[in-house]
């Protein structure tokens, strides 16, 4: 028994503290770890870290129980001969054997058909490395979690304003007066968001939350606006309607910084119908976005080259161009578009009273106009105009998956971005602010390959595995206009699937549609459980064999740190280290932790030695890359280029001599440069000395209006954050979308959608935001399935992976379905009683809890608390599997057959974003004779070799714990 005594005495032991970066979630706070006799004693937020400034969350503070969890994998495992996937029968093998198996298999595939190797990575933070590995290998079949996470948010905003919420930008709560938070429960920036929300409220800011449910951050909102799921687009369009009607928009901002005043050809007959009118003023041929648009000047009453000095365009009206074509400013088109989207109309759709919608519009408009901020910061715009001040309209928005995870999310988020824009709040104090490396051109320059010929044996992929199509010709399709990628991203089904569509990888691979693959490697994704829809069937697919008794997905490699549900299906298991045991980078090439004031990146440095035979996945990739002699990892003579991952990080450059590597800080021989510079052999030490972060604070004059800020753009170009130092004007009207529509209408040369998709592309690629019901609604009997079902993230749990954590699982041991009392009572369901929730795809039995903080047409539960029996080294009787449930069983990864096809993914038709929150259900009580347990249940997973002992009682005492537990 550990010493215990008067609380004033100090326990003994050798104490040391080390800094690193947390990875209990994607927030990536700086942490300080105190060790006693080598065991983790205390993990606190690093007070000197720019992101979290010393604070930590429930998960971060429970890192000890993750580190010493019995569910940790410690040995490479091979599925036992003769056993089935899912039986979790494994034998320990050595790393040498594991590498041998992978090398042989992957080398063969690379030499024959590299696309037969698919690499999918979940909630990881190393896409820079995994993506580059896939490209070097030559497979297009790579994606990370973005497609099932929030690509709608990224794409909807980036295609509109070159930046986005998520990890790319956020609300400036330090200066804002009004915050409207939409569909966010916890989010990625979770600790800083909490810190800022509290400061914001204490400064007298007004916080409004639009959400069907009042939990998470919304709990402390000054006003809660309950909304029916999937209808936010209607709300935004009505707000835009009201703001335009009352003239509460920021005209100056719209004129100069957006395409609002630019004339669009409205002549149905002309061949540039729907495209911007252009001048013939010569443009730099190397520029990204030619500034050749046309305004109608108010004083001269004639067409002029847009943004000519001393001109002032009309935003509204209808004009005839010199050649007789009709044209309207984009803003007039927007006004026309929202004409019928009245607050009264939206009230019907959203369930929010029209009065409330109007008041919200006025609150936004009046705050933006009357509480203007003028900061004495002089700056110059790209057109050479000097400004003495930076202006801000202090209305901030924040939104995440409540918008993103619907199949109408892309257009909804475009509407939101336009709402933010007409209020004049983009990259301005008190509004939305970018984080480096954003803003980016619209769309960003990275492109995928465009043809099957770009995938060749023993050759790196010709293009990025993921990118941003700018025109239909950028699509990654074959000559029949069919997908080249396994997940069908960047095809006509999902043209703007910028993050890939991992949610369909397993189903497509199983159906061998568009083609069979051989080896699928899954890193840090629990695709046999919570990152998959239709979970039961997907588990069957993972285990399904063809007539010859061969698995439909021949080989599965899983790299995980814990005994997750996914691991059970692996043929080969690679045990990863914990975040406290490895080197890692949070890189500018991926999604860094930049602040509004400048770029920030950070690293992890091991604080404890790796457990057992665990090996960082980073090292696995370096080793595999070296063995396969991928160009980036091997010297000319085929010898290994990098000793290990730390060595790779220091010495790797994106191109020989580019000076750009994974880490932006302390570059150059002696660490004197940043962003760009020769490799510095002491880079790791310098990070270590500096709290594991690099933070460059830009001059104040570069911190705002970055889309148009000459100083910033030049700086960013010089430091190679951007290729072009050109204005990034906001796309109120999206010509990019129009081009896809024109192709679908057969009015555009180049790549054409297959016939069955023409209608779909034409409909959803609307250059102006519009509202449509989520796709599944069109195909569901809404009378039979009257309710929406959604999930949210609990603050004290990360996805599926914290149930192995002895402290966190006490907080969320199982989950209830929260139902409005009237809704539940009408269905005859008791508070605390067992109930069924059934969609047209499947059903779950779960426990009901009445709640007054949910919109009556919605039911919800915490995400991924329910677990499959025996996973995560929990007992068979654990509440997670007996009472807990996973909503994913009622969500389908594919839509019912309809005119666009038989197997169309249940995703946004623009971006391929998984539509988690579209599902409709009905509810009814469970019978008295039914078992008092959740449904579905699965056979128990047995303990894997190498995992730990689960004790009946634990008493953690750092420095004594390991000895005691053995």
């Amino acid at each position: 028994m550990a010493v215990i005594h008067d609380p004033l005495q100090k326990p003994e032991g050798r104490i040391e503290t080390k800094n690193t970066t947390c990875y209990m979630c994607a927030c990536r706070c700086g942490i300080r770890v105190t060790l006693r006799d080598g065991e983790v004693r205390y993990i606190q937020g690093n007070p000197e870290h720019p992101l979290n400034k010393g604070i930590i969350c429930a998960k971060g503070a429970s890192g000890i129980m993750k580190q010493y969890s019995p569910a940790r994998l410690t040995k490479p495992l091979r599925r036992k001969e003769g056993s089935n996937r899912g039986d979790s029968e494994f034998e320990e093998i050595s790393w040498d054997e594991a590498f041998g198996i992978m090398e042989e298999r992957l080398a063969h595939l690379r030499a024959t058909d590299p696309k037969k190797f698919a690499l999918f990575t979940g909630r990881d933070q190393m896409q820079a490395l995994t993506g580059m590995f896939a490209k070097q290998y030559g497979t297009p079949n790579y994606a990370a979690h973005g497609g099932f996470c929030s690509v709608n948010m990224a794409a909807g905003m980036i295609y509109t304003m070159g930046g986005s919420f998520w990890e790319f930008g956020g609300p400036d709560l330090e200066r804002s007066k009004l915050l409207i938070m939409i569909g966010t429960a916890e989010d990625h920036h979770s600790n800083p968001m909490k810190m800022e929300l509290s400061k914001f409220k204490r400064n007298g800011g007004r916080f409004i939350s639009v959400n069907p449910v009042r939990t998470g951050y919304s709990a402390i909102a000054d006003e809660w606006v309950p909304i029916k799921p999937g209808t936010d687009g209607a709300l935004f369009l009505a707000l835009i309607h009201e703001l335009i009607r009352t003239g509460l928009y920021d005209r100056e901002f719209l004129v100069q910084y957006t395409n609002s005043a630019e004339l669009v050809s409205t002549d149905e007959d002309s061949d540039d119908f729907g495209l911007f009118a252009r001048t013939d003023i010569p443009q730099d041929p190397d520029c990204f976005d030619p500034q050749d648009r046309v305004w109608w000047d108010r004083t001269q009453d004639k067409a002029v080259h847009a943004r000519t000095k001393e001109t002032d365009p009309y935003l509204l009206g209808e004009f005839k161009l010199a050649d007789g074509r009709d044209a309207k400013p984009a803003f007039q088109l927007l006004k026309d578009r929202v004409e019928d989207y009245t607050p009264e109309w939206a009230a019907e759709v959203t369930g929010i009273p029209a009065e409330t919608i109007k008041r919200l519009a006025y609150e936004m408009g009046i705050t933006a106009r009357d509480e203007k901020i003028e900061l004495p910061i002089a700056w110059t715009d790209v057109w050479g105009n000097d400004h003495d001040t930076v202006t801000g309209n202090p209305v901030a928005f924040h939104a995440m998956r409540g918008l993103a995870a619907h199949s109408n999310g892309f257009q909804t988020i475009r509407a939101l971005t336009i709402l933010m824009t007409i209020l004049g709040t983009i990259d301005r104090p008190g509004g939305f602010r970018h984080k480096a490396p954003f803003p980016r051109p619209i769309p960003p320059c990275a492109k995928t390959p465009k043809s099957p010929d770009d995938v060749k044996p023993n050759t790196p992929l010709n293009g990025m595995p993921l990118g941003w199509p700018a025109t239909p010709d950028d699509l990654f399709v074959d000559d029949k206009n069919e997908p080249v990628r396994l997940d069908k991203a960047f095809s006509w089904e999902f043209p703007l699937a910028a993050h890939g569509m991992m949610q369909n990888a397993i189903t497509n691979a199983w159906r061998q549609d568009p083609y069979p693959i051989d080896t699928m490697m899954i890193f840090m994704a629990n695709m046999a459980w919570n990152s998959t829809m239709n979970t039961t069937s997907v588990r069957d697919m993972l285990n399904d064999k063809d007539e010859n008794g061969e698995y439909k997905i021949p080989y599965l490699i899983v790299c995980d740190a814990f005994q997750s549900e996914m691991v059970a299906y692996a043929d080969l298991v690679l045990p990863d280290t914990s975040y406290l045991e490895r080197h890692d980078t949070i890189s500018m090439l991926d999604r860094p932790i930049s602040e509004y004031d400048g770029p920030v990146d950070s690293v992890r440095i091991p604080v404890v030695p790796p457990l057992g035979d665990t090996k960082p996945f980073q090292e696995v990739l370096i080793e595999l890359g070296s063995r396969l002699k991928l160009p980036a990892f091997a010297n000319k003579d085929g010898s290994r280029k990098y000793r290990d991952y730390p060595d790779f990080i220091v010495n790797y450059e994106t191109e020989p001599g580019s000076g750009i590597g994974f880490l932006a800080g302390w570059r150059g021989k002696g660490g004197e440069k940043f962003m760009k510079g020769e490799p510095n052999p002491n880079q790791w030490e310098m990070y270590e000395k500096n709290n594991c972060v690099f933070h460059y604070e830009m001059p104040k004059s570069y911190q705002y209006m970055r889309n148009w800020n000459r100083g910033y753009l030049n700086w960013a170009q010089e430091h190679r954050l951007l290729r072009y130092a050109e204005p990034i004007n906001i796309h109120i009207y999206s010509e990019i979308l129009m081009n896809f529509r024109l192709a679908a209408q057969g009015k555009r040369e180049g790549k054409q959608p297959p016939e069955h998709l023409r209608k779909r592309v034409e409909t959803y690629f609307d250059p102006l935001p519009f509202y449509f019901e989520p796709l599944e609604n069109h195909l569901t009997d809404k009378h039979k399935y009257p309710l929406n079902a959604v999930t949210q993230r609990p603050m004290a749990m990360y996805h599926s992976w914290d149930s192995q954590n002895a402290w966190l699982r006490q907080i969320h041991t199982y989950n209830f379905m929260y139902v409005h009392p009237k809704t539940a009572a009408a269905a005859g369901i008791k508070d605390g009683g067992w109930m069924w929730a059934e969609s047209m795809h499947g059903k779950v039995r779960c426990l009901c809890r009445y709640s007054e903080s949910v919109e009556p047409g919605t039911i919800w539960t915490w995400n991924a608390i329910g677990k499959s029996k025996g996973a995560w080294r929990l007992d068979d009787k654990a509440n997670e599997s007996e009472k807990g449930f996973l909503l994913n069983h009622v969500i389908s990864e594919e839509l019912p057959p309809h005119e666009a096809g038989k197997h169309i993914s249940n995703s946004d038709p623009n971006t391929g974003q998984a539509a988690w929150y579209d599902v409709r259900v009905r509810i009814y009580p469970a019978g008295d004779d039914e078992p008092k347990e959740s449904y579905p249940q699965f056979d128990a997973m047995s303990a894997l070799p190498g995992t730990g002992k689960t004790q009946k009682v634990i008493g953690f005492f750092a420095g004594m714990f390991r000895k005691k537990t053995g």
Binding site: Q44, I55, H820, V953
Partner: protein
């Protein structure tokens, strides 16, 4: 006389449980010895915690408030848990008002927990002694820690800074002025326990819009007005005279 205490600001607490686990983490390897967890990987996991966060719903849809409510020992100024303790293991420190349990003396009779109306004491089921929030007395005076960190673990952790720590007897202190200005209150005042910890209520920011704020001099729509323009080919003076 000093009375150290926590002030919990319900206006900003988002119910994240950071204070719960950071407390457990600091204390489980501290002077309280380990803090037991039973069935950590089985049915009905349970353990000793000094601090818990609960959730309440107030009112009816759509005017519902979701309230997160952290609670640990309130370090009562007149703590009923202390006089009942037969061994003297429970005591209130004169110098700073912290109510502590001397784990070496406690016989684990649970009587003090009966005597606490707030349910703030938890017996450790394995160590068999009564445990409770120590206000991190082993942090706040530890001269080896940087001064800024001589605060309770939960206070350092709290992402919303909803937990303030200080001397509620010092009327100049931040906590005292916050209590005064923000309407700080005590739990269950009816028992006269005078909890040192205080809670700050929800405070609403509202916006009032006046009709005339909508009639704006700077209405940009005015700029869009194009004077009525007669068609160029309709008759004018030019058509009937020449000068």
């Amino acid at each position: 006389m000093t009375q150290l205490a926590l002030i919990i600001d319900l206006n900003v607490c988002v119910g994240c449980h950071a204070c719960v686990t950071s407390c457990k983490e600091w204390n489980t390897s501290g002077s309280a010895g380990f803090m037991t967890d039973e069935n950590p990987y089985g049915k009905d996991p349970t353990g000793t915690f000094f601090n818990r966060v609960q959730t309440y719903e107030i009112g009816e849809f759509p005017s519902t408030e979701t309230l997160h409510f952290p609670k640990s020992c309130l370090h009562c100024e007149d703590p009923p848990c202390v006089p009942v303790c037969p061994t003297g293991a429970s005591y209130k420190r004169k110098e700073d008002g912290i109510v502590l349990v001397d784990y070496d003396k406690c016989i684990g009779c649970r009587y003090c927990s009966w005597a606490c109306p707030y349910g703030a004491r938890e017996i450790d089921e394995k160590q068999k002694v009564m445990k409770k929030c120590t206000l991190c007395v082993d942090r706040i005076y530890d001269e080896e820690l940087p001064e800024s960190e001589r605060k309770p673990a939960c206070v350092l952790a709290c992402p919303t800074n909803a937990r303030l720590f200080g001397d509620v007897h010092d009327s100049e202190s931040e906590v005292s002025s916050t209590i005064r200005e923000e309407g700080g209150y005590q739990l269950m005042p009816e028992w006269g326990t005078k909890p040192a910890n205080h809670y700050l209520p929800r405070r609403k920011t509202r916006m009032h819009i006046h009709e005339d704020e909508l009639q704006r001099a700077d209405n940009p729509l005015k700029k869009e007005e194009r004077g009525p323009r007669a068609p160029v080919d309709a008759p004018t003076l030019d058509d009937s005279t020449s000068w």
